[in-house]
Structures are given as C-alpha cells and as structure tokens.
C-alpha cells in the first residue's frame, strides 16, 4: 500500500533556496496566465496546454536536479521546462512560432526542449516520455555520473502501455529513475477516478517492485521532501520510485476547452489550496521570508513575462530556407 506523507514547512531549505523556489513557481504561473490571455487573441498558432496550478510539482522535483540529470515531460510541459532552466524568452518565442524560439519555431508548445539543460522535451505523445527516461537513467548508470532521470507524466499516461513497460524495466534494470505521476484529476475530459483502475496511481508501484508515495501537489514542501528522498535513493543505486502528485489544473486540457465536464474545483483551489498562496503563508509565517521580498519577485517576474511576450511578437518567423533543414545530422 502506498503511503501518504504529511506536508510541512521548514524543509531545510535556506532562505536563498526558498526565494528561488518561489521565483520559479511564480515564473511558471505568470507565464501560463499570460499565455492564457494571449492565446485568446488568436495570435498564438496551434494548441497550448497550460500548467497553471501544478507549479509545486515541477519545482519541488527539479530543485533537486543538476547538470547530470535529465527530465522528460508531457504536452503540458511549460512548467517542467521553466523548472529545469529552459530560457523563458526562448520558450515564449517558440510558442509564437518564431525563429528565435527554443526550437527555432519548428517544435511549438508541445515540443519545447533544451537538451543542453537535460530537458528532453515536452511531448505530444501521451506516455512518450517514460521509456526515454529509462534510457537517460541507463546512460547515467553506465557513465557513472550519479545522474538520475525523471519522467513526468499525467493520470492519462499512467494507463498507457509505454508507461507501465517503463516502470517494469526501471526496476528490472535497477535504473536511477523517478517517475512522477501528476494526477490533476482529468485525462482530457475524462476523470482519473474513472479511468485509473486502482484507487491511486501510486498503488501500481508495488506491482512494479518499487516504492510508491502519494503527495499533496499543492504543497511545495511535501513535493520537495518526497522528491528529495526518491532522487537520493536513485543516486545511491537504490532504484526507481513512483511519486503520485495530486492536484488540479486551473485551465482546460487545451486552451479553448469549454471544460463543461468539470465542477467548481478550480475556484476552490485558487482561493484556498493554491501552491503559491500556501508557500507564501508558510515561508512568511515561519519567519523565513518577508512579504516585501515575495512582492518584489512578483514584480520582477511580471516584467520578465512582459518582455518575453513583446520580444516574441516582434521576432521574425522562420523562412523557406528553414523548411527542410535539420531533418538529419547528415543525409
């Protein structure tokens, strides 16, 4: 049976790290809220899938990672990208399909990647990431770097065969991998309580020979603690872990989704459960940080996002010459 860990403050993070955690979560939040508004103007091509509400998961996990480590993400990948250090302005330009984007406009929102930062990409295929992470973890193990691979995937992907195969392989090969199931309650328009046969995704961990934990995804400190334990276990050769993070996404499956399948959980979450609100309360109440410091960060992030949008809109689009380049290294 998987265990539910309590959430708490005073995690051993120093003030500098607490500020950084807040900054990154705030950056993700403002980025997604802004993309939500800009998408409605019709200027952003294609589809976007927003991560607002889920920030504690990406940041709570990625704060334990460094240059040795790789992550794979989902179609809802902006949060993981930002948490892993992908350049925010390049991300915005990519979403606008510009040549200055992270992928020179050739990938878009669902394929933002920065391999130099160990970010194997947002992925348009549900369940596409976990097998790849078995590979990055294998590479780290064979290369002896102490690095880990972290696969973020959703409740939808938790039912995909590729994910289940990856869980099995990670245990069989004793890989330094962490699987983070981000259960936001819905796979597109279908609830996870209906589509996941077990009570919890984490209950499947035992079936694949690894520890499983369930974490309140609105609680940065709970995520940080659970992720720290799992990542340390992996680094020390103790094998993989499955972490199930439970929360809610503030927006639809995609921008444009009317969300008629939902109740009123978003309003409640924004008012009382929100990860940034909780973080503020805990860090300030515990005397670590001042409200002013956090307000300053909010303002700085706002300026950054404004600049990102302005620069993206002004940037050139790729040209004819770019259409068939980079299909291969050489052909």
């Amino acid at each position: 049976m998987s265990q539910t860990l309590p959430s708490y403050a005073g995690s051993g993070l120093d003030d500098k790290s607490l500020l950084e955690a807040y900054r990154i979560m705030r950056t993700i939040r403002e980025f997604e809220e802004r993309v939500h508004r800009e998408f409605a103007t019709g200027e952003i091509p294609g589809f976007v899938h927003l991560y607002a509400g889920e920030e504690a998961s990406a940041v709570g996990v990625c704060m334990h990672l460094d240059g040795r480590d790789a992550i794979a993400s989902t179609h809802r990948g902006h949060g993981h990208c930002i948490a892993k250090g992908v350049d925010v302005k390049a991300m915005m330009a990519e979403i606008y399909g510009r040549q200055t984007g992270s992928c020179h406009g050739k990938g878009g929102s669902m394929h933002i990647a920065d391999l130099s930062k160990g970010m194997l990409g947002a992925n348009g295929i549900v369940g596409g990431g976990p097998p790849l992470i078995c590979g990055t973890a294998l590479a780290a193990k064979l290369q002896g770097t102490g690095g880990v691979g972290v696969a973020f995937f959703g409740d939808g992907a938790s039912n995909q065969g590729t994910t289940l195969e990856a869980l099995n392989l990670a245990t069989v090969w004793n890989l330094p991998a962490v699987f983070v199931a981000e259960n936001n309650g819905y796979a597109e328009a279908t609830s996870s309580t209906w589509s996941v046969a077990s009570d919890n995704i984490a209950d499947r961990a035992a079936g694949f020979g690894m520890p499983g934990v369930i974490i309140d995804g609105f609680d940065f400190f709970a995520v940080y603690e659970a992720a720290g334990e799992a990542i340390q276990r992996a680094r020390e050769g103790g094998g993989p872990t499955l972490i199930e993070v439970k929360f809610t996404r503030y927006f639809g499956h995609f921008e444009g989704d009317q969300q008629t399948y939902r109740g009123d959980e978003v309003a409640r979450a924004r008012e009382t459960l929100d990860c940034l609100l909780q973080f503020r309360r805990r860090a300030v109440d515990a005397g670590h940080l001042g409200t002013g410091q956090l307000d300053d960060i909010d303002a700085e992030v706002g300026t950054l996002i404004d600049a990102a949008v302005a620069e993206a809109r002004a940037a050139p689009k790729p040209t004819d010459a770019d259409l068939t380049t980079d299909v291969y290294v050489s052909y």
């Binding site: 790789a70 794979a72 984007g101 992270s102 992928c103 020179h104 406009g105 050739k106 990938g107 394929h111 990647a113 920065d114 391999l115 130099s116 194997l120 990409g121 992925n123 348009g124 295929i125 596409g128 976990p130 097998p131 790849l132 992470i133 078995c134 590979g135 990055t136 294998l138 590479a139 780290a140 064979l142 290369q143 691979g149 065969g161 590729t162 195969e165 990856a166 099995n168 392989l169 069989v172 090969w173 380049t325 980079d326 299909v327 291969y328 290294v329 050489s330 052909y331």
Partner: protein
C-alpha cells in the same frame, strides 16, 4: 585481408569491432545474451538466431538482455542515445514494430527537427525481416517501406555479408537514427569479407552487375534473385544492370536515373507487399525524372497484397524469385506500343 564468412558472422564482427573501438556502443534486446536470471548459462542464445553470441563475455556490462517490452527498451535506447551513448538495440522481428513504433517514428525520428537542430540521436535498431522460414504472417514481413517513409530515419538493407559488415559499422558511427534490416534467410549466406574494419557510405548504390539493356533495381535478398535472373538472361543476349541501393533512405537516385537513361528499361524487385513499397517509390521517381528515357513501362516484381502464408507451398509462391524477375525483364524488352 578478405576471407569467407557468413552474414551472421559479418554482423557479429561489425558489432565486436565497434564495441572494441568505442566504449559508448552498447547492445540491448530480447535474449541478445539470453539466460538472465536463469539457473543455467549466460549468453545461452546470443540472439534468437545467434547473431550477438560472444559479445556478452567479451564486453561485460555492455550487452543487456531486456524483458519483452519493446516500447520501453527501444525507447530506452533512444533516450540513452540523446545522452551520449551509441546503443544498438535489437527489434527481434520487424513485425514487432507495432508495439514500439511511436518511440521510433514520433520520438527518435523527429527530435532533431522538432528541437530546432539541437538533438543528436545516434541509435541503431537492428531488426530481422523477410519470408522463407515458414514463420508465417506475423514473423515474415518486409516492412522497411514503413520506416523509409519517415523523415528523420535512415534505413539500411544489406544484401551480402560484405555489405552487412560495412553498412553496420557505418550505421553505428552515423549520428542519426538508423533502422538496420537483416534478412533472416541470409544469416548462413557466405561471402568475402575483409578482416579489418571498414565502412560503406549511405546513399551510395552498388552496381552489382553492369549491363546496357535493362536496369534491375533490387532490395536486400532480392539482389541475389536479380543476379540469378541476369545470368540466365545473358544467355539469351539480354544484359541486365543490377543495382543494389543498399540504403532505402537515403536513396541513391542518381545511380538509378543514370542507368535508366542509358538502358531505357526498369524492373524493380521488392519483397515487400505492393502498396507503397520501394518498387512504387522508385518507379514513380524514375517516371517523373527520366520519363523521356523510358522505352517501355516500368515493371514491379513484388510479393502479393496478402499476409505471408504459412504452408511452404504458398510461401514459395509468395516470395519473388529469379524466374519472375526474368519474366519482368522480358516484358520490358518485348514491349511494343
């Protein structure tokens, strides 16, 4: 120094020489060693048809057996390739592509383009294809056309032990994802193969036989059918030029077009089933680029549009043979408007 070895030994040698030369090369697949977790010997199989035998002991820790979970381990090979390894993963039968195709065609093939030119995915996927072993419908297909269709993949179909060794070494050194298709009936075919390491470039066809009357392009094991037909036809004064493209992607269109511009007649021999295979691909290319040179309609010699049958009586009818190639050649020679 060349000597006679088998297609199987040539592939094994290519793997061993590259693993010796480059620590980043690793091998993985179902029973690529065999015996994992079992009470008997390790390296019990060395691959289902023995192609990887001996590598497990020679390169400790670098030959990995896998559970039967192609999506996971083919995906793992791809992920490891993005992080500096040079994996050679085995998809035991090309027919199993269905259970892992996403990792190949939506992930590996597309990383470089989708990520704006910043990804390098040097993975090789070795796989067995082809009919003739009475292995029936789900173990006998020639599915390289499906891989050839995908931008971002390279596809290699070696026709002899010499081709197999050079092309596999090239594949391992290549920085793009490569699908390396070995015909399962050819493992015991022998030929002259240099002892030393060598490469054969991709996108360069081999003119297996020169001739001025008819161009015969053949894929993989079909090259030997074309050569047998060519020998028979030479007796009646028809000289065939047999071209082995070696790689279907990239495809050496220049060599094919140059030959057709000279002969004016084309026969394409492809064991794959007829809709959207290499025969249709090459024929259309030639029809567009060398229409003026053609003196007769192009002939395609392929399997029928049917799954591979089990009974030897039927399977022997299924596979294109030298007689059918010769008939097709004659059809181009005898054709009148």
């Amino acid at each position: 120094m060349a000597r006679t070895i088998s297609y199987r030994e040539a592939i094994n040698e290519a793997l061993a020489q590259e693993m010796e030369r480059d620590q980043r090369v690793i091998v993985m697949g179902e029973d690529n060693a065999g015996g994992e977790g079992s009470p008997g010997e390790m390296d019990a199989w060395g691959g289902v048809l023995g192609v990887t035998k001996g590598l497990y002991d020679r390169f400790p820790g670098r030959v990995l057996d896998t559970p039967i979970s192609e999506s996971a381990f083919i995906g793992a090979a791809i992920g490891a390739a993005t992080r500096g390894m040079r994996p050679v993963a085995e998809l035991m039968f090309i027919d199993f592509m269905g259970v892992c195709f996403d990792q190949i065609f939506n992930q590996a093939a597309k990383f470089r383009y989708m990520f704006g030119g910043k990804a390098v995915t040097p993975v090789v996927i070795r796989t067995m294809y082809g009919a003739g072993l009475r292995a029936a419908a789900q173990h006998s297909q020639a599915l390289y056309p499906l891989f050839t269709h995908i931008p971002g993949l390279k596809v290699v179909v070696p026709s002899s032990p010499y081709e197999a060794k050079g092309l596999l070494i090239q594949a391992i050194r290549d920085d793009d994802p490569v699908i390396f298709c070995e015909h399962k009936l050819m493992y015991d075919v022998t030929g002259e193969v240099p002892e030393e390491s060598y490469t054969i470039p991709f996108g360069e066809a081999n003119i297996a036989r020169e001739g001025g009357d008819v161009t015969v392009v053949a894929i993989g094991r079909m090259v030997s059918m074309a050569m047998a037909a060519a020998d028979e036809l030479a007796g009646s004064g028809v000289q065939c030029e047999v071209i082995d493209p070696r790689t279907t992607s990239p495809l050496d269109t220049d060599t094919i077009l140059e030959s057709v511009e000279s002969t004016g007649r084309l026969v394409v021999v492809d064991e794959a089933t007829p809709r959207c295979n290499l025969a249709t691909d090459i024929s259309a290319l030639v029809a567009q680029e060398a229409f003026g040179s053609l003196r007769a309609p192009i002939q395609m010699v392929t399997a029928p549009h049917a799954p591979v049958p089990f009974s030897d009586a039927l399977e022997d009818l299924y596979i294109p043979d030298a007689q059918r190639v010769a008939n097709a050649v004659k059809a181009t020679v005898d054709w009148e408007r």
